[in-house]
């Protein structure tokens, strides 16, 4: 049978996770290099409408893995259903977005099939016949090329933003959705999930801010956050933070930028003492201009910065606030 690439799209309660289009784009690019056709599947309960959105993409076949037992996400249910589907369709390569949900079931699925999962990839390359996957390591300080040393199916996940979802090729006419029905015994699912909820009303919507001043560990002490606040005030922007700052309670959780917080794309993102761990960078790399101040010239935040200021933020920010005030006056 011919090699195929299977994209497993993600949906939550009947809504497609847009990051799925990035995975489609990744699959289309690998397809162009390897000649393997792209198939897609989405799993859930009552997901016709979601499947319809993927059907607009240029994929050869599209499957809806549908069962009432998949209506609420569980790792047992999803791993079981996809295991069956993969056994039935024998793809060479299975691609998924590196979301919290995929992280929850994909290692289980791959292990059940005796296969590895190359997780959190940021790209791929070909060397002759070989297909290599590139992943970030050491919090983005290094990248690694990784290959599979086994037969199909290969499993890989791609980091948010690794591919441009808006560049995924669309089909001339929508694909027909093929239903894959699955008999999912109740005993398979051991976890009993409750409905997702939001902790507290989000007091600030950082996605609307033109200017964001974000602080990381480099701010050292809670009282130093006032310095960042003054800078934000001078620029007419909002203050935000990386996860450790919110974990410490120095700023409320709704000020957190990153995979577990808000994703923003302001005109200006000013990063103070932020090292630039992947989990933070995925939440801000769409910003138009990024200025970062960090004492470590190797900090990964500088990889996504337009202006990389190497130095002590406590020396630089006070005169900077004065200069901004002068410029505004």
């Amino acid at each position: 049978m011919a090699n195929t690439i299977l994209v497993v799209a993600e949906q939550h309660e009947g809504k497609l996770n847009r990051v799925s289009f990035e995975t489609v784009k990744a699959a289309q690019d690998i397809s162009a290099a390897k000649g393997w056709p792209v198939h897609a599947a989405v799993a859930g309960g009552g997901i016709e409408q979601v499947a319809g959105e993927i059907a607009a993409m240029d994929v050869e076949r599209l499957h809806a893995i549908d069962s009432p037992a998949l209506a609420a996400y569980t790792p047992d249910g999803f791993a079981f259903a996809l295991n069956r589907f993969i056994a039935d369709t024998s793809p060479q390569l299975v691609l998924m977005p590196h979301t919290y949900q995929v992280r929850d079931f994909a290692p289980k699925l791959a292990t059940a099939l005796g296969r590895p999962l190359i997780s959190d990839c940021i790209g791929f390359k070909t060397e002759g016949d070989r297909l290599l996957f590139t992943r970030s390591m050491f919090q983005g300080k290094f990248a690694a090329d990784v290959s599979f040393a086994c037969g199909a199916p290969w499993f890989a996940t791609f980091q948010n933003g690794a591919f441009r979802g808006d560049q995924a090729r669309r089909a001339a006419s929508p694909r027909a959705v093929e239903l894959f029905s699955i008999d999912l015994p109740e005993s398979v699912i051991r976890n009993r999930p409750e409905a997702p909820f939001k902790e507290a009303r989000q007091a600030v919507d950082l996605t609307q801010a033109d200017v964001i001043v974000a602080v990381g560990r480099g701010i050292k002490e809670q009282k130093n956050i006032d310095l960042a606040r003054d800078l934000a005030a001078a620029l007419g922007g909002e203050i935000a933070a990386s996860r450790p700052i919110c974990d410490s309670g120095w700023l409320p959780m709704d000020r957190q930028i990153g995979s577990s917080g808000q994703t923003v794309a302001p005109k200006l993102y000013f990063a103070l003492g932020i090292s630039g761990a992947i989990q933070h960078v995925v939440g801000m790399k769409g910003s138009r201009t990024v200025i970062a101040i960090n004492k470590d010239s190797e900090a990964p935040i500088f990889e996504v910065a337009d202006l990389a200021v190497v130095g002590n933020l406590f020396d630089i920010v006070p005169p900077l606030i004065e200069e901004i005030k002068k410029a505004r006056a």
Partner: protein, 256 residues
Amino acid sequence: MKILVCMKQVPQKDAPLKLNENGSWIREDVSYEVNEPDAYALEEALRQKEKHGGEVVAITAGPARASQVLREALAKGADRAIHLEDPAFVTLDALNTARAVAAAVKGESFDLVFTGLQSDDYGFAQTGVILAELLGWPHATIIMHIEKNDAGIRVKRELEAGFFQFVQMPLPAVLTIQSGINKLRYATLIGIKQAKNKPLRKVTMAEVQAALGPNLQVLEKLYIPQKTKKTEKLEGPASEVAKKIVEKLRNQARVL
């Protein structure tokens, strides 16, 4: 409850890292620390034990230096520790690491296994979930709260974009713990003293070799990532730097 906590030693967050000569790994002459989410996993295990009784066992895989994380765990209150000691454990993929851990604790009956949600070095975010599959146990990831009840445990999972979810699950189970689930404690002087007399079992590579296979994902090359953005570097006296930043704010960012 009897809880196993999987912990890893990783390079310190702000340690400058260099590639080794053949680009297969980093140079080892750096400072190491406990992988941050693993420290929270240990803290959570200690808190559960304080509430419900039982035992906390810390396990790590790595060279001799990695025993430092176990000594810290014992000093903070873990009852005993297991060290899969061999430099080669560092080169194992997530599947083999999980197999090694499973082999090392074979014959023990834990109620819970905790891991941090991911490590700062490889960043697979997989070992805990794989371990659950190998053990045939249910799992839940990115956990922010755990409460024991008659049917097992009720945990709070962190989802994306500020969402959470409670999940009821039976025991035994594997949980991957998110940073910030609790407040970390410091080791006390008494704790550090007592740690010296707590059991620390060493397990060699030979003892678990039969459970392992070849790495099915092969790290071919480690390198400094290519920049995708044109970055202008700025260094110098603070007052000059401040003026240049303002220029940038005016001309490029156009926010002034």
